[in-house]
Amino acid sequence: MSHQAAERRSAMAAAALGRSPSATYSANDTTLCAITGEILDISPHLIILETPEGVEKRLVMAPWTTAWRGSTTSPNDLPVGAQVILRTQRAGRVVDRIWADVTRVNGIILSINGGPKDRTVEVDCGPHRGRRTVSIPYQTSGRIQVRHPQFEPGYLFDVIGLREEGVVSARTPATSQPPYKATAIPPASRVYGSVPSRISGTATWYDAYFENGNRGAAYPMLEEADTGCADGGVSCAGLPYLAIGSLLYVRNVCTGRAAAVPIVECGCLTGKFCDRCVECGTSPRGRIVDLPPTTFVELGGDLTSGCFNARIGLG
């Protein structure tokens, strides 16, 4: 569903129920901005980017700017042509953090190939995101497998990796793998009375920064008739049913930053992860929302951590 159609639904629901229509995306403060693009030139003091809209941007590199490209690196070592997402400060002029060619693959392990050294894993990322193949180099396999003890088909998989020449290589695990098979999701705790107006859990990001202008969230509890996603409607966090176009108020509990984000996609696999985020304290069990990387960064999340403790409001 397009953003316009999702916005129209939101406006219609607001009109029918007498709510005031909300802006589809609004952060509570704009001190942090996220900018995506391709590096045209980079020097110790300046980075020149071409954004997905084709606009050239020149941004100042602060002395404290750090970068990630497979591992923490100096910004000067980033290659021209790398796809980056920048966290900026001071009205989007000063670069604070750079993630280059970062990608995330999460889903259900379909097959594992290769020998004792480098291995490749085929992952089912859900009906909307298809299947992806991830290479696990020998030097990262230890740290990936220690967080994925059930490294076999049928179990869940979530890694952050590097995209190079169309090949994704896993660099760091994004979660501690849940110990159950993807077909045996534990039920949510019982809720008595009405659903609480705010629900806490884990917010994660999905690999979509190359999608132009994507500012919407993926949410697990959507009806199949609404999304065509038979795998949806599963959540171990006790989430209520919402729809494409509903607005979620997402708050990063660790940083206090918040934003209103429309639901634009079914988080068919998001609800299957009953893991916890330990960014600041231990979050309650279950993923509650999957955000695009730009929104995730603007809410204060670190893409290489993979999650932040979040609270969502419904309405």
Binding site: A15, Y180, P186, A188, S194, V195, A225
Partner: protein, 277 residues
């Protein structure tokens, strides 16, 4: 009366053994989930690869004992049953000592509460009940087919005692009484439409509609939204109905919106929905 209670033990023991066996077979076939270990009971004490076979073997033993208790009168079967429950008592005491977080697993999922004095008391009662059946000259089936008033009273005493020492009782009642809030329940798509079409709001706005078929429908919390094409003052409009999905006479809200823009042409009485920020 004591003879009736002793005889009543036969069908009760057979029933409990059958239920326990069924629960073990079902639990052993389920894939591991967090918290699933609490349903395993004593099987948690053995190696993971042996857990499912051990549970199935135990279930087969229970089925065999149940069948023999119902069909035969041989005292060996009753002694074996008493031995089975005596060993179970020892295993539960040991389980409580070594894994105080694990349930007895006696009846699958509902037996996930950690082993306590009630679960141990129950196996003691069952052991005594099995010992009591030694010397009864009837089979379980003969007793059930010729049930007299005294036997019914005996059954009531036995069942009442067992319910009193069963920790699963509260869990079962809670499960039966629980109903998820409307926001979490899947609701049939046609139910909202049915409620809408039988409402006065529908009849009032029906003249505005150019078609009876909605063009878009979605659900948010406990509300079902349906958009119908219509015409007002010569302009194409979208008529949006919001139907509350719970209750016999649910509230229904409506708004008429310009099809070409988001301007609200008419807005009916409205209510606040939920959380907000």
């Amino acid at each position: 009366m004591s003879e009736a209670i002793r005889a009543a033990g036969l069908p009760v023991l057979a029933l409990l053994l059958t239920l326990g066996g069924l629960a073990k077979v079902i639990t052993s076939g389920r894939e591991a989930t967090p918290g699933g270990l609490t349903r395993l009971g004593p099987a948690i004490l053995i190696r993971e690869t042996w857990r499912a076979p051990a549970m199935v073997s135990c279930a087969l033993g229970e089925f065999t004992l149940a069948a023999l208790l119902m069909a035969g009168t041989h005292s060996l079967v009753r002694w074996l049953t008493a031995a089975f429950f005596a060993v179970s008592t020892f295993v539960l005491v040991e389980l409580r000592r070594r894994r105080p977080d694990v349930g007895c697993g006696c009846f699958g999922e509902v037996s996930s509460t950690p082993v306590g004095l009630r679960a141990i008391s129950r196996t003691v009662v069952l052991t005594l009940l099995a010992l009591g059946t030694v010397g009864v000259h009837q089979s379980g089936w003969q007793l059930v087919s010729g049930l007299g008033l005294l036997h019914v009273l005996g059954l009531a005493v036995v069942v009442g005692t067992l319910l009193l020492v069963s920790p699963e009782l509260e869990e079962t009642v809670a499960r039966l009484r629980y109903q998820a809030p409307c926001e979490l329940r899947p609701v049939d798509h046609g139910r909202g439409l049915e409620k809408l079409r039988s409402s006065a709001t529908w009849r009032t706005h029906r003249p505005l509609l150019t078609s009876d078929r909605y063009t878009d429908s979605w659900r948010e919390l406990c509300w079902r939204f349906m958009v119908f094409p219509g015409e007002a003052e010569g302009r194409p409009v979208d008529v949006v109905f919001a139907v509350f999905l719970s209750g016999r006479r649910p509230p229904i809200r409506v708004a008429v919106i310009d099809s070409d823009s988001r301007n609200v042409v008419t807005l009916q009485e409205s209510i606040a929905l939920s959380a907000g920020h």
